[in-house]
C-alpha cells in the first residue's frame, strides 16, 4: 500500500529583489533590479502513512512552514512533487482542501467579529457538512474542548487559549483525513497546552486521522509524536523515532557528582582531569562536579568506579539528554552526529 502523504524531492525557491547599497541605492533599486534566489526548501522527501502522528521540526527559517504551505496547497512548489492520497495539493486544491484541516497557531481562521458558533456554522456550510453530522461533531467538540462557556461570544473577545480551541474545532468539524497543526500550542499557558495535547492525543488514538504537527515546543513532541522529521536549511536531517534521534545525536551523557568534605581537612576536594578517563569536566563548584562523557567510548561503571576510588562521594546521578538539548545541539552544530 502506498503512503497517504508522499513528498518527493520538494523544492521551493523565493526570488526577491536585492537592494543596491550606498548613495542613491534605493533609487537604483527602483530602476535596475538584481534578484536573489533563496532556496527555502531544498529537496525534501518523506512518506507518511494513514493514521500516523508526525512531528515536523526545525529551527526558525528551516523551511518548515514552507513545506506545510506546499502540502496544504497555499504555495506552488518550484520543483518536486507532493501527493496527498494521490492528489496534487496545488493543482487539485479544492479536492485536497475538502479532506484536510489546518490550524495555524499564529493566524485564526474564525470570523473575528461574529460569535464562535457562527464560524462553526459557516465552516459547516463551506464544507457541505450534513446537518446531522454537523450537530454530532459540534456536540463532540463542545464537550471535548470545553467550548460551552464561550461559544456565543464574538471571537475577538476570546482569550488565546479559547480561540485556539475554537480554531481546532473549526478545522476538524468536517472530519478531515489529514490535519496539519502549525504551532498549535504557541503562546498558551501550561493548562491550555496540556488540554491541547490531550485533544491531539485522543484524536490520533482513534487511528482515522493523520496528523502533521509542527512546533517549537519539544515537550509537545516528546509526549505526542512517535515519529519526528527534523529539517534545517531546507533539508531533512533526521526521520525516525524520538529514541533514535537521541541515540544518534545525543551521544554524550553527564555524570553529576556531589562530593563530601574531606574528613581530616574539612575541605571539599576538586575532581582532577586525570581521574575521569578522558571525559570532560564541564563545571565544578560548591562540591558538585559535572562530567560529560561519550557513552560509546567510556563505560559509565568505570567512570563511577574511578571517581568513587579517588574522592569522597556523597551522591551520584546520570543525566540523560532531553530532546531539547539534542535539538539545540543539532541546530547549533549542524547535522554530523
Amino acid at each position: 500500500m502506498s503512503a497517504l502523504i508522499s513528498v518527493d524531492g520538494l523544492v521551493k525557491e523565493f526570488r526577491k529583489v536585492k537592494p543596491h547599497e550606498g548613495r542613491l541605492g534605493s533609487l537604483r533599486t527602483l530602476f535596475t533590479r538584481r534578484y536573489e534566489v533563496n532556496r527555502a526548501v531544498d529537496g525534501v522527501s518523506f512518506a507518511i502513512d494513514e493514521g500516523e502522528l508526525v512531528g515536523y521540526l526545525g529551527p526558525n527559517g528551516a523551511g518548515k512552514s514552507t513545506t506545510i504551505k506546499m502540502m496544504t496547497g497555499i504555495v506552488m512548489p518550484t520543483g518536486g512533487t507532493v501527493r496527498i492520497s494521490g492528489l496534487d495539493p496545488w493543482r487539485e486544491r479544492p479536492c485536497n482542501a475538502a479532506q484536510m484541516g489546518v490550524v495555524f497557531g499564529q493566524r485564526t481562521q474564525l470570523w473575528w467579529d461574529l460569535p464562535l458558533r457562527e464560524s462553526f456554522r459557516l465552516v459547516g456550510a463551506i464544507y457541505g457538512v450534513s446537518p446531522a453530522d454537523y450537530r454530532e461533531s459540534l456536540e463532540r467538540f463542545v464537550d471535548l474542548l470545553d467550548l460551552g462557556e464561550f461559544i456565543d461570544r464574538p471571537v475577538r473577545q476570546l482569550s488565546l487559549g479559547q480561540r485556539m480551541r475554537g480554531d481546532i474545532a473549526a478545522a476538524m468539524l468536517h472530519r478531515p483525513r489529514v490535519v496539519y497543526l502549525d504551532e498549535p500550542t504557541i503562546g498558551l499557558d501550561v493548562v491550555a497546552k496540556d488540554r491541547m495535547r490531550t485533544f491531539v492525543e485522543e484524536t490520533s488514538r482513534a487511528g482515522e486521522t493523520t496528523i502533521v504537527l509542527t512546533t517549537h515546543d519539544l515537550a509537545d513532541v516528546e509526549r505526542l509524536c512517535p515519529r519526528v522529521i527534523l529539517i534545517d536549511h531546507g533539508r531533512v536531517l533526521y526521520d525516525g523515532d524520538v529514541q533514535g534521534l537521541k541515540a544518534t545525536y545525543a551521544t554524550h551523557r553527564e555524570l553529576v557528582v556531589h562530593l563530601a568534605p574531606d574528613e581530616s581537612t574539612g575541605r571539599t576536594p576538586a575532581v582532577r582531569a586525570a581521574d575521569v578517563l578522558g571525559a570532560e569536566i564541564v563545571s565544578q563548584e560548591q562540591g558538585v562536579a559535572r562530567i560529560r562523557f561519550e557513552a560509546s567510548r567510556i563505560a559509565v561503571q568505570h567512570l563511577i568506579a574511578s571517581v568513587n576510588q579517588n574522592y569522597p562521594v556523597r551522591d551520584l546521578s546520570i543525566v540523560e539528554p532531553d530532546l531539547e538539548g539534542v535539538v539545540r545541539r543539532i541546530y547549533s552544530e549542524g547535522l554530523t552526529p
Partner: protein
C-alpha cells in the same frame, strides 16, 4: 470538489450575510460611511451641473444627456462595487498572508475574498446611483422600446463587468507586487474622470486608448450613445456599440482567468 453554480451562489449569500452582520456591529461607523458615500458621489454630479449651467453643452451633449451618461456609469459602478468591493483589499490580504486561509478551504478563493467583509460606504454609492439614475432616465431624451430596455439592463451589467475586469486585473498584481493601492487609485480615477463624460471631447487619441486598451468607453459612454441615439458621435461602428455589454463580459472572463493564473505567484509570509 467542484461545486454547482447554484450551491456557490447560496454560499455567497450565506457568507455575505455573515460579513454584513459583522459590520453592522459597529453602528457609528456604519452610518458615517453611508453618509460619506452619498456626499462623495453626489459631489461629482453637482460638478457637472455647475459646468453645464455655464455652458449649454459638452461636445454637443446637453445637461440631461451628460447626466444620463454620468448616472449610467455610476449605476454600473455600483453594480460592480457592491458584490466585489473587497477586491480592493486583496493586496493587504496578500501582504499580511491572510490570503492563506482562503486557499485552505474547498471554495473559490475570489468568492472568499469578496465575502470577507462588507464596506458600508458602498451603500452610499448605491443610494446616489439609483436616485440620480431615476432622475436622469426621466429627463433623458430616449425613445424607450423593449429592446432598449433590455439593452439598458445588459449594458449596466456589462459596464460593471468592464470596470470590474480592470480592477480585478490590477488586484491580480498583488500576488507579485504586494502593493497595488496606487494602481487602483489611478484606474478608479481614469474610470471616474473619463468614463463619466462624452469621451469624444477628449480627442481622438484618448478616445482610441480608452476604447481599445482600457474598456472605459464600454462602461457608459457607448451604451449611453446607443440609448440616446447618438451613435453618430462614436468612433466604433453601431453594431459594435450594440455589442458593448458582450465586450464587458469578455473582459471580465479574461481578467478572471488571468487572476487565477497569477495566484501561483502567491508566496504567503514567513511564518
Amino acid at each position: 470538489m467542484n461545486r454547482p453554480f447554484k450551491e456557490s451562489l447560496s454560499l455567497y449569500w450565506t457568507l455575505q450575510k455573515a460579513a454584513l452582520r459583522a459590520e453592522t456591529g459597529y453602528r457609528f461607523n456604519f452610518v458615517l460611511l453611508v453618509v460619506m458615500g452619498i456626499v462623495y458621489q453626489g459631489s461629482g454630479i453637482a460638478f457637472v451641473w455647475v459646468i453645464l449651467s455655464q455652458f449649454d453643452s459638452i461636445g454637443s451633449w446637453t445637461f440631461s444627456d451628460v447626466a444620463f451618461l454620468y448616472s449610467l456609469r455610476l449605476l454600473a459602478h455600483a453594480v460592480w462595487i457592491v458584490p466585489f468591493n473587497q477586491v480592493y483589499a486583496l493586496d493587504e490580504l496578500v501582504r499580511e498572508g491572510r490570503f492563506d486561509v482562503y486557499l485552505l478551504r474547498p471554495l473559490n478563493p475570489l468568492l472568499q475574498v469578496i465575502t470577507g467583509r462588507v464596506r458600508m460606504n458602498i451603500l452610499g454609492d448605491v443610494i446616489t446611483a439609483v436616485t440620480m439614475f431615476g432622475f436622469a432616465v426621466t429627463a433623458a431624451d430616449v425613445d424607450w422600446t423593449p429592446a432598449k430596455a433590455l439593452y439598458l439592463v445588459l449594458a449596466v451589467l456589462g459596464g460593471a463587468a468592464a470596470e470590474g475586469a480592470v480592477v480585478l486585473l490590477v488586484s491580480a498584481l498583488s500576488f507579485r507586487f504586494l502593493h497595488t493601492w496606487s494602481a487602483h487609485f489611478l484606474v478608479d480615477n481614469v474610470f471616474l474622470l473619463f468614463g463619466s463624460y462624452p469621451l469624444h471631447i477628449f480627442g481622438t487619441a484618448t478616445t482610441w486608448i480608452l476604447t481599445w486598451t482600457v474598456p472605459v468607453a464600454f462602461v457608459a459612454y457607448v451604451p449611453a450613445s446607443v440609448l440616446l441615439g447618438r451613435t453618430g458621435d462614436l468612433s466604433v461602428s453601431p453594431v459594435l456599440a450594440w455589442a458593448a455589454p458582450a465586450i464587458g463580459f469578455l473582459w471580465m472572463y479574461a481578467a478572471y482567468r488571468i487572476w487565477v493564473r497569477q495566484m501561483r505567484h502567491y508566496q504567503s509570509t514567513g511564518t
